[in-house]
């Protein structure tokens, strides 16, 4: 158990060392979310078509856009895994004493670390264009812990997918097919109440909605009435995906 935890930390360390050498991806991936909050947000808020219960529209979507980016980063983390499968890295890792689950959870949480940096880079831009955050450091900290763990779960999805889709091209396709529906069928850009009934049902099972709800409560509205439910949902989501991805991980090298 201790050893498993230690190996997870080693995988996180690996990711931090990678980031230290090359941060280009963090910057290029920041372009899209910045466009959402700098252009799409102000334009849509001038239309005033979306009821956000008093919160300015750009403020409303900022957590959604942050989560969207971090989710994308995590879902495409599987590409790294596919590359490591094509090379001999995964074979070698699976022949070490480290357990499968510590590799899967470790790599997933490593993606969580990447996600934190990805979310942080959006903050100053949001402040610049006047998004009002709840001025409470504890809330901030909790929000980033939520982002960290949720991203780990999404990265586990990507590891699960990577163990079935063994080429990069296929993985890219399926990655898009997962991320876009998750994003649009969530409360990232509009309240769930605005959706058609069927989508509303789907949204109850959409982990992204819980993450956005938690982070929006902590960073923007300060309304924490749903926080407990959100956290429980994220915990269940993580646990389920970690288990599934660990089970399927072995087939990745066969």
């Amino acid at each position: 158990m201790m050893e498993g935890l230690k190996n997870m930390l080693v995988m996180i360390e690996l990711e931090l060392r990678r980031l230290r050498h090359d941060r280009t991806e963090i910057y290029t991936r920041a372009v899209q979310p910045i466009l959402w909050i700098v252009i799409y947000g102000p334009v849509m808020s001038s239309v005033k078509a979306i009821p956000t219960s008093g919160v300015p529209y750009t403020d409303f979507i900022t957590p959604g856009v942050m989560i969207q980016t971090t989710t994308f980063v995590s879902i495409f983390y599987g590409l790294t895994i596919v590359w490591e499968r094509e090379s001999g890295i995964l074979k070698k890792l699976l022949v070490t004493p480290a357990s499968r689950y510590s590799m899967v959870i470790g790599r997933s949480m490593a993606s969580g670390v990447r996600a934190i940096f990805q979310a942080l880079i959006i903050l100053p831009i949001a402040v610049l264009i006047g998004v009002q955050f709840v001025p409470n450091p504890a809330y901030f900290l909790l929000a980033f812990i939520v982002i960290f763990f949720a991203s780990g779960g999404f990265a586990a999805i990507s590891i699960l997918v990577a163990s079935f889709m063994k080429t990069r091209e296929r993985f890219m396709g399926i990655g898009q097919a997962i991320t876009m529906p998750l994003f649009f069928a969530s409360n990232a850009l509009y309240p769930i109440q605005m959706m058609p009934p069927i989508l509303r049902e789907f949204s109850t099972f959409n982990p992204l909605s819980y993450v956005v709800d938690a982070v929006r409560g902590l960073l923007i509205t300060g309304d924490l009435s749903n926080l407990l439910i959100d956290l429980v949902a994220i915990a269940i989501f993580d646990a389920a995906l970690f288990i599934l991805a660990s089970i399927s991980f072995r087939r990745i090298i066969e």
Partner: protein, 331 residues
Amino acid sequence: MDFAVQVNALVKVYDKKVRALDGVDLDVDHGEAFALLGPNGAGKTTLIRILTTQLRPTAGEAYVFGLNVVRNGSKVRRLISYVPQEMSVWTDISGYENLLIYAKIFGVPQLERAKVIDEALENMGLTNVKNDLVKTYSGGMIRRLEIACAMLIKPKIMFLDEPTIGLDPAARKVVWERLNVFKKEYGVTIFFNTHYMDEADLYADEIAIINQGKVVTRGKSEELKHSLGGEIIVFTLEKTALKPDLVQNIRKLNFVKGIFEDGNLSVLVGDAESTLPNLMNILKSEGASVEKVSITKPTLDDVFLKYVGTRLEEKGRISDVTHMRDMIRKG
């Protein structure tokens, strides 16, 4: 005492069709360097992957130091280190960092870590590039880093899948000298696949030749060569002269122990001096004009040719693998 590796009637069938291993029996003493030679698709890599607990055999059993690789996989993984054929280091961090990550995964105690890593770097001649990103390394340096990774812990056995592929002869020599020292100092068993005949000849204590999923012969290099017996007469003929009839006729002669053709005609006989005139006469009477004759003692190459039926193709294979490794490296 248990064997370092013991394999009984091992069978591996992929997708219910491809029979990669077809009843392999093998045992390897500890402390020795054991080479597995074979043409492409003979099952060499499959065997290593089963022994390193990556694949489950379809039938039969395999043991590493008395531990069953299927039932005691996690115990086996504590004893072994492994260098896959494909590139297996992270290219976006430095060589030192690669070793650091593996040292931590292998549980090398913190106090020893720096010393162990420096030693491995020194052994593989990478000390002066240790802080450079691996993507700036040459193919040969990457291969050496991978072997350094396998040397970090003092494993009981190292499984090396084509350890020196793509290295130039001088670099190969250095790597093997280090591996030999490592083997002697720590009693590490080395189990390796190779495409370099000379490498098996020089550095392996024992060699097994594997073809179509079966071990066709095994022994020390000298024994294998002796087992062919006698001498080999190589006739260089005009291209058109090498007819199936001719080969058949020579094969029928009672002093001919073996015959192989691979462009040239090689005839294995007990004594070359007394049989050469006879052979020349036959060739002449069949109308084949001989351009050159040479007499050699059997080499490992000839052993391979006898048991497998073709020569080991080094060139194409090696450029395939190095090309593949380059592609992976560039992402």
